[in-house]
């Protein structure tokens, strides 16, 4: 059945190459491929953890920008009461809040809430060797309205406070803490998940902030019809 035509006296280059490859033992090929892979890996630093770019240090008033949002932190305040947001602090606890003007840089609205991934993962607060992150966050509020868990519309700035609870004796006015700002990536759901969300926070910038005392985040609600005369219609 395997009647080959008689081999010509001089092999063509292709046939010669093929014959040569056929004579290389498979083990050699596997060893060579493994060697090439290991050398290539070593060239990129081997199995060592890739170095993360160092976080930049920002000053108060500077704006942190990311594809998700831009954020200008202004204050770090200590509070005894969050009554205007209907939040009750445990006995022996105080609230510490980072005040910032935040602008949604994405094309979709973003919910800023302590119970919803996304905006809450952008800010953390370092107190000594402990970091208060999104898991410990009590609330995100809008300080002007005032409003709990506001929605950030695209391109519209909003004055927010990111709030954590701390033991009452842990902090006092004048203490310097470090706010941490994170850049996140936009993920798009496939096959079993739909929609888009921001995740995978990477520390990008830090900002030293000095704590100060504050009675409340927002002044008392304005009485109805306070300035009827100002209305034009």
């Amino acid at each position: 059945m395997t009647a080959h035509p008689p081999a010509p006296a001089r092999k063509r280059p292709a046939q010669w190459t093929r014959a040569a490859i056929d004579r290389v033992p498979t083990k050699w090929l596997i060893t060579a491929a493994t060697g090439v892979f290991l050398i290539a890996t070593a060239a990129f630093g081997g199995l060592a953890t890739a170095a993360t770019p160092p976080a930049t240090t920002m000053r108060v008033g500077e704006t942190f920008t990311s594809p998700q949002l831009s954020l200008t932190a202004s204050k770090l305040v200590l509070l005894d009461s969050l009554d205007e947001f209907f939040i009750t602090l445990e006995p022996g606890e105080r609230a510490v809040a980072v005040l910032a003007e935040v602008t949604n840089a994405w094309t979709e609205p973003q919910l800023a809430a302590a119970g919803s991934v996304g905006v809450r993962d952008v800010v953390a607060l370092r107190i000594g060797d402990r970091t208060l992150g999104s898991d410990e966050m009590v609330a995100i509020v809008r300080t002007d309205d005032p409003q709990l868990s506001p929605t950030l519309q695209p391109g519209v700035a909003a004055p927010l406070a990111f709030i954590w609870a701390v033991p009452a004796h842990a902090l006092r006015a004048g203490d310097e803490l470090t706010a941490e700002f994170f850049t996140q990536r936009l993920y798009t759901g496939k096959v079993t998940v739909s929609g888009q969300w921001w995740d995978d926070p990477a520390l990008t910038a830090t900002m030293p902030l000095r704590a100060e005392e504050r009675a409340a985040l927002s002044p008392a609600p304005r009485p109805p019809d306070a300035d009827e005369s100002e209305r034009t219609r």
């Binding site: 009647a3 202004s74 204050k75 005040l99 003007e101 094309t107 979709e108 609205p109 809008r142 300080t143 002007d144 309205d145 005032p146 409003q147 506001p150 929605t151 519309q153 695209p154 391109g155 519209v156 700035a157 909003a158 004055p159 096959v191 739909s194 504050r214 009675a215 409340a216 927002s218 002044p219 008392a220 609600p221 304005r222 109805p224 019809d225 306070a226 300035d227 209305r231 034009t232 219609r233």
Partner: protein, 229 residues
């Protein structure tokens, strides 16, 4: 010799047929892959188009957009868009603890409000009948109806069968909204019963924001059950 050459010719032909068959299969696979609808396409909402002033009816939602206006400020009994519910700037300055955040407290300078006057009703069931999605799409950006005002807007209202609830939807947009007339003139309003509008009716109303009335300040009122005449 003759038999051998026939065998060679047969083998060559068989190989050609196999190659052609493989090429056809690859081509067919490519066409199927390229023309298969994506999840976004097969899950898309059932869109009902209507103009301003026209009634649009979907599975369990019927709505009419009456008018669209643009305002610099919104006011209701307990809230103002430019200084929130807190106080005006004088009172903020008088509050010793608040003066240092005067810049933040000045509200959101530069934002513009789009006010949509509409009436919405359910069609066949009132169970869970609320306006779950009210979105204004301008260019690539999607704005959802604001929940900042203290009044009851249409997004808070429970809908009744065949009895329209009339009220406002307000959208907070950046101040440079009308800077790009090409984008502003091709905005659209999307209304649906669920926040996730997929696989259900969605009413789409094109809105030309460049033709909307420009107002300084608008006083908001609660949404009302039944049509105002």
């Amino acid at each position: 010799m003759n038999a051998a050459s026939t065998r060679t010719r047969t083998r060559t032909r068989a190989r050609a047929v196999t190659a052609a068959g493989l090429a056809v299969l690859l081509l067919a696979a490519g066409v199927v892959a390229a023309t298969t609808p994506t999840a976004a396409e097969w899950e898309q909402p059932f869109v009902v188009h209507a103009a301003i002033g026209e009634q649009a009816q979907g599975r369990n939602i019927v709505a009419t957009v009456r008018d669209v206006a643009i305002a610099e400020r919104l006011v209701d009994a307990r809230w103002r868009s430019d200084s929130g519910g807190g106080s005006d700037s004088d009172r903020a300055r008088a509050t010793a603890s608040a003066d240092d955040t005067a810049a933040l407290r000045a509200g959101t300078p530069g934002s513009t409000w789009v006010i949509v006057d509409a009436s919405v009703a359910a069609v066949h069931t009132e169970v869970g009948a609320i306006l779950g999605r009210a979105a204004l799409i301008v260019g690539e950006r999607t704005y959802v109806a604001s929940n900042r005002p203290a009044v009851f807007t249409l997004t808070d209202a429970a809908l009744s069968i065949e009895i329209p609830t009339r009220g406002t939807l307000v959208f907070e947009l950046p101040g440079d909204l009308l800077a790009d007339p090409a984008t502003a003139s091709t905005a659209r309003l999307e209304l649906a019963m669920h926040a996730d509008p997929r696989l259900d009716s969605m009413l789409v109303i094109p809105i030309d924001l460049t033709k909307a009335a420009l107002l300084d300040e608008v006083q908001l009122e609660d949404a009302q059950w039944g049509e105002r005449r």
